[in-house]
Amino acid sequence: MSSVNTSAHSVVEPTPTVKRIAGVIVILYALVTMIPLAWIFLTSIKSPPDSISYPPKIVFTPTLEGYCNLFTTRTRQTPDYIQSLPPATGTCDEITRSRNMVIAGPSNYWPRFGNSLIIAFGSTFLAVSLGTLAAYGFSRFRVPLADDLLFFILSTRMMPPIAVAIPIYLMYRQFGLSDTALGMILLYTAVNVSLAVWLLKGFIDEIPREYEEAAMIDGYTRLHAFWKVVLPQATTGIAATAIFCLIFAWNEYAFAVLLTSGSAQTAPPFIPTIIGEGGQDWPAVAAGTTIFLVPILVFTIILRKQLLRGITFGAVRK
C-alpha cells in the first residue's frame, strides 16, 4: 500500500504562496490608484510656486495657502495700505497679507459644495425610492408589456446622457429649470432611475415572494408587507444602488457646466473656475478637490461591503 497523503489539498482554497503573490499585486494596484489622490492632497498643501516647480517637489514646507485661497476672495493692495491695517486676525489673514492681498470675503466654494450635497443626495434618494417601487412592481406583478418597458428603461442608458444635452438645455430654459437645484435633481434622477430599476429588480427577484405572502396572511396589507418584510431584506441592494447613483450625481460635470452657472452650480464646474483668480492657483484647485472627495470617500467606506456585493451581484449563485 502506498502512503496516503492526509493533508487534503483543497481545489478552491489558494495556497499561501498564491495568496502572497495576490497580496503583492493588490498592494501594487492600490498604490498606483492612490498616487493621483495623494498628489492632489500634497498639491493642496503646497505653496503656489512649489506646486508648479519642475522637477516636482516631494519634500516641501506645507502651507494652508491653498485652502485659504479656496475659501476666500482676495483683492490686491499696496504694501502701504496693508501696513496701515490692524494686526492680522488668523492664519489665512497672515498668508494673504504676505502676498500683498487682503481677504475681501468668503468664496463661493461652500455654497457650491452645499449645492452638490443637496443635488446629489436628493437625486439619489429620489432615484432609489422610485427605482425600488418600480423594481418591486416589475418583480411581483404582471405588468403589461413588462419586458418592453424594462428594455425602454434600459435603453435610456444606451447613449451618453450628454448626447441629449442640447434638447435638455432648451427644454430647461423653457420650463425655467435652468440653474435650479430642482432641475438638476430631476435630471440626475432621470439618468439614475434606470440603473436603480435594473439593479434593484435583480435584488428583489431574489427575495422569495413567500415572505410577503406570509406577511399578508399574517394580517398585513401589501404595502405593510413591502415595508416590513421586503425592504429590510433589500437593504444590501438599496445601499449598493444608492452608492452607484450617488457617485454619478456627485461627479457629474458636463450637465452641471451646461445647466448651472449661478445659484445652483455644483462643485465640479466651480472648482476649475478657482484657477483663474490671480494666476494658476493649483493648490486652491487641489484643496477644493480634496474636500470634494471626502463625502463620497466616507460614504463608500461605510457601505463598502454592500458595494462589493453590488458589484459581484449575480456572480455567485446560492
Binding site: I217, D218, Y220
Partner: protein, 365 residues
C-alpha cells in the same frame, strides 16, 4: 375554528385550467389532505383558499361567510409555506409574534402568547435565536408556531414536510397529527406524498389535472377508489389492473377473465361491451395452486415482513404482496386467487369505477 366550503371553484391561467370546478367541504376541526402529483392544482386550490390567488369563478365560504374576494389579510387564516418563509431579519420570537403585531395585540400579551406557543411546540429554548441558523425541524416548528399563535379560523399547509429528510419527516408527521388532535384546528394540507396524507388526514381529496377525482376518508379512497387514477396513485405497489373486453349486467356476480370465472362484488349497473379492467390490490392476492388463473413468476422484491412478487399472467403483470416465508424461482408457475369482496371494476376509456356492491357499502356505511 370553522368550516371551509368550496363551491365550483375554478382557476384559469390564460388557456391553462389549473383547477376545474371543484367543490368540497372541510368540516370544523377536520384535517383534509389535498393529494396529487405536481401540477395537479392542489397548491393553486390552497392559495385560493388563502386569498393569495383569486379564483376565475366559484365561491369560497369560511365559517359561513363568503370570503371569495377578501384579501388574504382579512381572512383570518394561517399558512405554512413549503420553504417556511420565516422572516430572515427577525429572530424566532419576533417571527412568531409578527401576526399578533398586525392585530395590535399589546406587547405583554404578545410575549405571553409567543411563549405559550413555543412551549407547546417545544421551541421555547430557541426563542431568541436567529432563524437563519436553525435546523430544518426547528424552522418547521417556528413556522407552525407563527401559524397557531394567532388561533386562526383554519390552517393551510403547502407541503410543509417536503424539504425535510425522510427520517425526520416521519417524526413531524406524528407531531403534526398530535398537534391537530390537541388544538382541533380545521386544516387543509397539500402533499404529493400518499403516506403523509394517509397517516394524518381525516379526509383526502385526490386531485389530477385540476380535477378532484375522489374525496373521502383514507379508507374509502384506498378500498373503494372512484377511478383508475386514484387506484393507481394510492398504494405501493399500486392496484393491479387486469384488462378484458366484456359487457356487464346489473346483478352480475362474476366476470370472465381469459375464460376463467372470477367472482366480483355484485355489479349494480348495465355496461355495454367495452374495454374493462379488474382492479385488485396486491395484498388481496393469495397464491393457490388449485386456482385456474395461472401465471409465471417474473420477479420478487423482499421487504422483510412480506414480499412483492410479480407474476406474468395472460392479462399482464400482476404484483402480489404475500408473506415473506416462501421463496420462488423465476419462471415458476403459480395459481392466483383474489379476495372477491375487495375487487373493483373500471371502464378503461373513462377510468371511472363501475358501480357495484363494493361502492354501495361505502354509501350506506
Amino acid at each position: 375554528m370553522s368550516e371551509i366550503k368550496i363551491v365550483n371553484l375554478r382557476k384559469q391561467f390564460g388557456d391553462f385550467v389549473a383547477v376545474e370546478d371543484s367543490s368540497f367541504t372541510v368540516e370544523d376541526g377536520e384535517f383534509l389532505a389535498l393529494l396529487g402529483p405536481s401540477g395537479c392544482g392542489k397548491t393553486t386550490t390552497l392559495r385560493m383558499i388563502a386569498g393569495l390567488e383569486l379564483p376565475t369563478s366559484g365561491k369560497i365560504h369560511l365559517d359561513g361567510e363568503d370570503v371569495t374576494f377578501n384579501r388574504a389579510s382579512a381572512r383570518d387564516i394561517a399558512f405554512v409555506f413549503q420553504l417556511f418563509a420565516l422572516y430572515p431579519h427577525m429572530n424566532v420570537r419576533r417571527n412568531i409574534g409578527f401576526p399578533l403585531l398586525s392585530q395590535g395585540v399589546p406587547k405583554a400579551e404578545i410575549r405571553a402568547r409567543v411563549e405559550e406557543t413555543a412551549r407547546l411546540l417545544r421551541i421555547d429554548q430557541i426563542l431568541d435565536r436567529s432563524v437563519s441558523g436553525l435546523a430544518g425541524g426547528d424552522r418547521q416548528r417556528v413556522a407552525l408556531g407563527r401559524a397557531i399563535v394567532r388561533r386562526p379560523k383554519c390552517f393551510l399547509m403547502d407541503e410543509p414536510l417536503g424539504t425535510l429528510d425522510a427520517e425526520f419527516r416521519e417524526v413531524m408527521v406524528h407531531e403534526l397529527r398530535e398537534l391537530h388532535n390537541r388544538i382541533h384546528a380545521t386544516t387543509v394540507y397539500v402533499t404529493h406524498d400518499q403516506h403523509e396524507a394517509m397517516a394524518m388526514a381525516d379526509k383526502i381529496a385526490v386531485m389530477n389535472h385540476g380535477v378532484i377525482e375522489q374525496f373521502g376518508t383514507p379508507q374509502e379512497i384506498y378500498n373503494r377508489p372512484a377511478s383508475m387514477y386514484v387506484a393507481d396513485f394510492i398504494g405501493s405497489p399500486p392496484m393491479n389492473f387486469m384488462r378484458f373486453h366484456s359487457g356487464l349486467h346489473r346483478g352480475a356476480q362474476s366476470i370472465l377473465l381469459d375464460g376463467i370465472d372470477i367472482p366480483v362484488p355484485e355489479v349494480s349497473e348495465d355496461v355495454r361491451p367495452r374495454e374493462l379492467a379488474l382492479g385488485v390490490r396486491p395484498e388481496h392476492i393469495r397464491f393457490n395452486d388449485a386456482s385456474r388463473l395461472r401465471g409465471a413468476v417474473y420477479g420478487s422484491e423482499y421487504l422483510g415482513t412480506n414480499q412483492v412478487v410479480a407474476v406474468e399472467t395472460a392479462s399482464g403483470i400482476v404484483k402480489a404482496r404475500i408473506p415473506a416465508d416462501r421463496s420462488f424461482r423465476l419462471g415458476e408457475t403459480v395459481g392466483l386467487e383474489f379476495n372477491p369482496a375487495t375487487l373493483a371494476l373500471f371502464d378503461c376509456a373513462s377510468g371511472r369505477a363501475i358501480a357495484s356492491s363494493l361502492y354501495q357499502e361505502a354509501r350506506h356505511g
